[in-house]
């Protein structure tokens, strides 16, 4: 996983509540057996006017000019501003894969769905929870200023804005540690392999029917 330390980038608005993972990446693109290449189909049904399918040349598709990400001022955005309960619905990790593949590295929203929130950290994508009025204010600043940029310093847990006070944010210390160092969870968990084996031995004594039934 790529490290996340300090991110400076353009913020782009996704101004609706309850954005679901079907909207982030529609199901026809889930047939891929890879983790990459989903960026061109991020928000496919909102970005393009026609129906998308895997393997298509997206550069020739009709564009929905009204959709924020299609506006030149948000070109190259790496920070997504969003509303409450972002990423609800399906557990598909293709949603954070698509966001990262497109170029996003952080999301700012009042709340997230649990599975999406979890999946994001595992892919170097930082979902930050902010008070609703702060998010509102960032939406206003983003819309009022062309090329509005924010700087997110994960170590200091601060969002630096050009037009106001720094915004502090909370992050789970374990997830912060993994992001700052680009660490893979599996390697860390396997450092506890002895504890897992010990637990497993006791559990097998207690509930033997849970072992070996499927073979």
């Amino acid at each position: 996983m790529e490290k996340f330390t300090v991110l400076q980038g353009i913020a782009a608005p996704m101004d609706r509540a309850n954005v679901d993972t079907d909207m982030i990446i529609p199901k026809q693109f889930l047939k891929s057996i890879k983790r990459t290449g989903f960026g061109v189909n991020l928000f496919d049904e909102l970005r393009y006017l026609d129906e998308g399918y895997p393997g298509q040349d997206c550069s020739v598709r009709p564009i929905n000019e009204d959709f924020a990400l299609n506006k030149p001022r948000y070109n190259g955005a790496s920070i997504l501003l969003a509303r409450e309960n972002f990423g609800c619905g399906s557990s598909r990790e293709h949603a954070p894969w698509a966001l990262v593949d497109y170029g996003f590295r952080a999301i700012l929203a009042p709340s997230y769905a649990d599975i999406f929130f979890n999946n994001s950290f595992k892919n170097g994508l930082l979902p930050i929870v902010l008070e609703e009025n702060i998010v509102d204010d960032l939406f206003k600043s983003t819309e009022a200023n062309d090329g509005y940029q924010l700087t997110i310093d994960l170590d200091a847990q601060l969002i630096k804005r050009p037009d106001g006070d720094d915004i502090p944010f909370d992050v789970d210390p374990f997830r912060k540690h993994c992001l700052l160092n680009g660490l893979d969870d599996i390697g860390l968990t396997l450092q506890d392999a002895d504890a897992i084996r010990e637990f497993e031995g006791g559990w097998k004594q207690q509930c033997p029917w849970l072992f070996g039934a499927i073979k």
Binding site: R16, A17, N18, D20, D22, M23, P26, K27, Q28, L30, K31, S32, I33, K34, R35, E45, E51, P54, G55, R83, E84, N85, C88, G89, S90, S91, R92, E93, P96, S111, A113, D114, I115, N118, N119, K122, N123, D172, P173, F174, D185, I186, T189, L190, D192, A193, A195, I196, F199, E200, W203, C207, P208, W209, L210, F211, G212, A213, I214, K215
Partner: protein, 475 residues
């Protein structure tokens, strides 16, 4: 000290290690695998040169992509016409072969939707921790298990370590007392709950469904309710173990046998919240008041009783919500104030991990029996949840009831719930669907989904529009 909730007990029993930072390692007893969210996990294992920690903890079956017409199913995997779907199903076969994982392949008698197959085979049991790369894994909580959906990185993590890194969730109790009226089903109960608490209402929580309505409910009904916990934002939903649970599990293929059975039952009988357990959040509904439900919008919380009218955005004071209602009405092609029963239906889908079990099919067949699908309805798909459900339904003659009414009887799979295979809605078409999500485009580009029970879906198929199934039952 207060007693423990069911969730507390399941958590404590599986706690391998509590870390100082608040996260914990939780031992996982069962992982279900399907073709869509597993290929990248297996690839991850290969790249890191890792082996599964415990092969016998896993069970695989293809469901999301499989075609449901008998013609396309005949030739097995090679017969799948869509190349990308075929590759994905083949990849699951190859990965299971390579790593030694038991798989019920595309036409195996054990194949079906993972969340139908697990309980049906006794592969998911009371007291287990269950995961799957699918958000509807919450289904298995109906057995008194701690079950939830995970992402692909976590699928790989569980394969490699048999553990999940978790932070303990909050305890939420949804209590529904009273007695359900005739024609009101478990699906209506869960839709009414989601309508009340909203799609984010259970975020960060494990929900326990308690109260008279759930004590009276069959196991299949409880599976339907727990299935949609995620639509209320909760990763996990569960129901306490009782005689209904134990009767259901007894004799199933992978259920404990002999001496183990007695030991297991003794343990399972402890799997309920203590009388003095404290919940962080309690929500109460009166089951007697619940009517058949129909979703009108593009989020499962946008749901109302069948005798209601479509809401008006002008009546909502919160601008983000009002905006959401306006957008939903536009996408759904509905007018504010329109009667729900006036919404016409173009297609009907009865199936999905929510509502494709035998009782669901019986409920739909009771309405369809001796009636015909309305001329204005283009297609009614009946997709059993598993090969076993299909065989039992056919033995009871349900397939004949459906085909006599002008409905199509299909092969098991996820089908039009998410339209990864050929079963999908056309642009602008309204669908009465027994599935779980009415998101934009979910059942096909521009498709308009209305979530209902199997009985209400069958009634809509006959009437050509939404209608109160209770009136058809009186007729």
């Amino acid at each position: 000290m207060a007693g423990k909730t069911l969730y507390d007990k399941l958590w404590d029993a599986h706690l391998v290690k509590q870390r100082d930072d608040g996260t914990a390692l939780i031992y996982i007893d069962r992982q279900l695998l399907h073709e869509v969210t597993s290929p990248q996990a297996f690839e991850g294992l290969r790249l890191a040169n890792r082996q599964p920690w415990r092969v016998d903890a896993n069970l695989a079956t293809p469901d999301h992509n499989v075609p449901t017409t008998s013609a396309e199913r005949l030739a097995g995997v090679d017969g799948i016409e869509d190349e990308t779907s075929r590759i994905q199903v083949k990849t699951l076969d190859e990965n299971c072969d390579e790593f030694g994982i038991v798989e019920h392949g595309i036409n195996d008698p054990g194949q079906g939707i993972v969340h139908v197959v697990g309980p049906e085979q006794g592969a998911t049991l009371p007291g287990m921790t269950v995961v799957c790369g699918d958000s509807h894994t919450s289904t298995h909580g109906a057995l008194g298990a701690l079950a939830h959906g995970i992402g692909t990185s976590e699928v790989e993590h569980v394969l490699a370590t048999q553990c999940l890194i978790q932070r303990k969730m909050k305890n939420m109790l949804v209590r529904v007392d009273g007695t359900l009226g005739a024609g009101v089903t478990p699906k209506d109960v869960v839709l009414a709950i989601i309508g009340k608490i909203g799609t984010a209402g259970g975020n960060g929580c494990a929900i326990e469904f308690g109260g008279q309505v759930f004590r009276d409910m069959s196991m299949e009904g409880r599976l339907t309710v727990c299935n949609m916990s995620i639509e209320a934002g909760a990763r996990a939903g569960m129901v306490a173990v009782d005689d209904t649970t134990i009767e259901y599990v007894k004799g199933r293929e992978y259920a404990p046998k002999g001496d183990d059975w007695g030991k297991a039952v003794a343990y399972w009988n402890t799997l309920h919240s203590d009388a003095d357990a404290e919940f962080d959040i309690v929500v109460e509904l009166d089951g007697t008041d619940i009517k058949p439900q129909v979703s009108w919008g593009t989020s499962p919380e946008m749901v109302l009783p069948v005798d209601a009218t479509v809401p008006n955005p002008a009546d909502e004071s919160d601008p983000v919500k009002s905006n959401g209602i306006s957008r939903a009405l536009e996408y759904m092609g509905l007018e504010a104030g329109q009667d729900i029963s006036s919404i016409p239906v173009d297609r009907v889908f009865i199936g999905s991990c929510t509502n494709s079990r035998l009782e669901d099919l019986r409920e739909a067949a009771a309405v369809a029996k001796g009636r015909k699908v309305a001329d204005s309805v283009k297609q009614v798909l009946i997709v059993p949840g598993s090969q076993a459900v299909k065989a039992k339904a056919e033995a009871e003659g349900l397939d004949k009831v459906f085909t006599d009414a002008g409905m199509e009887w299909r092969e098991p799979g996820c089908s039009m719930c998410l339209a990864m295979n050929a079963d999908k809605l056309g642009n602008g078409e309204h669908c009465a669907s027994t599935s779980n999500r009415n998101f934009e485009g979910r059942q096909g580009f521009g498709g308009r989904t209305h979530l209902v029970s199997p009985a209400m879906a069958a009634a809509a198929a006959i009437a050509g529009h939404f209608t109160d199934v209770r009136q058809m039952m009186e007729a």
